[in-house]
Amino acid sequence: MSDAILSLRHVSASYGPVRALDDISIDVNEGEIVCLLGSNAAGKSTTLRTILGMTRANAGEIVFDGERIEGLTTPEIVSRGLTMVPENRRLFGKMSVKENLEIGANLRDDKAEIQEDIERVFSLFPRLKERIRQRAGTLSGGEQQMLAIGRALTARPKVLLLDEPSMGLAPILVEQVFETIQEINSQGTTIFVVEQNAHMALSIADRGYVLQTGSIVLEDTAANLLEHPKLSDAYLGEME
């Protein structure tokens, strides 16, 4: 797996005495869509937070683009080309749509190209353009998810992490969000997406991992996972 752009090797992480991740290994190859499935409290968010240095790994290595990143600060990691659409969007609610998109590009100073990327976001999500001056806090749930994705895109990441992008959205919007993720991937961004909505995630993913109480219990191609008899009831409880 030397062609992986992002690798977690035997990573563990804890919140005080609570072990949230126990010796997990994940590889994401350049150009892929990889999903991490698991029920509530399995440790999905912790995995993404650990990759980004928001929670410290207490064992293991995280390698991004050939270099170890597990000791770096979040801004240092982000500056190397990783970013995330966080759980519950977490936009800057008092800032305008435009400012949220601009702040996504905070580490860049190529003004013209930032503008280009903002336009690209508007072409993915035309509704955001209509609301460009509106405060992010006043957008609808779907629009907020679009803006959260847009804000991550203006950072121009090599790998985009998404934490439950379907959460709290109506089914039509969920489909739309996943189509957009696929389109972003086809334009050259590697995707690592965390979901409880396994069917939806696997329908666009190349490969998937299943996380259960902090351990990887299953990994396979998306096609095989969709067929997997144990996937629905054993590991994901709430899946249809």
């Binding site: 980004l52 928001m54 600060t73 979040t74 801004p75 982000v78 500056s79 970013t83 995330m84 966080p86 977490r90 800057f92 609610g93 008092k94 800032m95 400012e99 601009e102 702040i103 996504g104 905070n106 580490l107 804000r151 950072a155």
Partner: protein, 364 residues
């Protein structure tokens, strides 16, 4: 036997609660009615005596506007730090004192060799620079040494530290600079009066008001338009996501303290334009009044802090004379702090979010 037992206890506690809520309301209503009555009755009595002419009221108003401008600049320091760290930097008054008191020695040196009045504008610029630089230095030092190690601690801990730091700074400067009141050297071009829009005012008052307005406007643009200003707003809203945007949170917090310090340093020079003296305790009252102004405007809001400062200054200058002279209170201006702190208490009771209500929004 055992089943009905809890009923009476429940009933009595319920009755207690029912009684407590209206009681509190009644006290509040009585309080506000008597304050309004006092203010109205006092004011009518005062106006009826005719002790003060229209010009007197004008000049009191200008006086209030000028001192309020100083409060406003200091208040912005409280509000900026609160907006990003949700803590009250109670040592901010000392940040204000440190700058202007240090600049005092420069002013004395300039006065001694005649430079102060041969090159007054350059002198003022240098005094401003010295005062702002020292205040920035003290503010940043405070953040680095006193507050940063306590970032994760419960809210009460940095608050108590801030109070301790305030005394530490006061007595450190007392050690260095002495315990006396010292008169700031007079700058001749600032003496005298101007008539602006038909209103006579001291030159210093006009300069203070205009300078404060200018600085407030610069700050407003800075926060709204620059990258650092945007980072400050982002860290205030969501520190973790700010760092996900690549923002260096520590550096942004330092910048916030530095900007608050710079404004306090400038406020110090404006303060001595009005009051002409320095002493190691001089940060205390203006500091707490500025804090009141920040709370009045809604702590966390920059515009609120500026408005709060002006309103407090005007009430403090006009209020005692207007409300109390008619009530035959001797030397009402001695009671200015009563007005300031009366307002603080009333705002906390009736309008805990301030009139721009930023703090509630922030906390949510």
């Amino acid at each position: 036997m055992s089943a009905p037992a809890p009923a009476p206890a429940e009933q009595s506690s319920r009755r207690l609660r029912f009684e407590r809520i209206p009681m509190r309301r009644i006290i509040l209503i009585v309080l506000s009615v008597s304050i309004i009555y006092g203010v109205v009755a006092g004011s009518t009595a005062t106006l009826r005596t005719g002790v003060f002419t229209a010009e007197d009221w004008q000049s009191l108003f200008i006086n209030g506007l000028a001192r309020g401008s100083v409060y406003a600049l200091i208040a912005i320091g409280y509000t900026l730090v609160y907006g990003i760290l949700f803590m009250i930097n109670f040592a901010h008054g000392e940040v204000f004192m440190a700058g202007v008191y240090t600049a005092y020695f420069v002013a004395v040196a300039f006065a001694g060799n005649g430079f102060l009045n041969s090159n007054p504008l350059l002198s003022i610029a240098i005094l401003l620079l010295v005062s702002m630089a020292v205040s920035v230095f003290i503010a940043v030092l405070l953040e680095r040494l006193a507050y940063r190690p306590l970032r994760g601690a419960p809210r009460l801990v940095p608050l108590i530290t801030a109070i301790g730091a305030s005394f530490f700074l006061q007595y450190t400067f007392r050690g260095f600079y002495g315990a006396n009141v010292r008169a700031y050297p007079t700058i001749e071009i600032l003496q005298g009066k101007w008539t602006i829009f038909g209103i006579q005012m001291l030159k210093t008052q006009a300069i203070v008001i205009v300078a404060a307005l200018f600085l407030w406007f610069l700050l407003y643009l800075f926060v709204a338009r620059t990258k650092t200003g945007r980072s400050m707003r982002a860290v205030g809203e969501d520190r973790e996501i700010a760092s996900l945007m690549g923002i260096n949170v520590d550096r942004t917090i330092v910048a916030t303290f530095a900007i608050g310090g710079a404004l306090a340093g400038a406020a110090g020079i404006l303060y001595v334009f009005l009051f002409n003296q320095v002493i190691f305790t001089m940060g205390f009252l203006p500091g707490i009044k500025a804090f009141t102004a920040a709370v009045l405007g809604g702590i966390g809001s920059i515009t609120g802090a500026a408005m709060g400062g002006l309103i407090l200054g005007i009430l403090e200058a006009v209020g005692p004379n207007l409300f109390l002279t008619g009530a035959e209170v001797p030397s009402p201006n001695q009671l200015q702090p009563v007005i300031a702190f009366g307002i603080l208490v009333l705002v906390l009771i009736f309008l805990p979010g301030g009139f721009l209500g930023a703090s509630e929004e922030k906390r949510a």
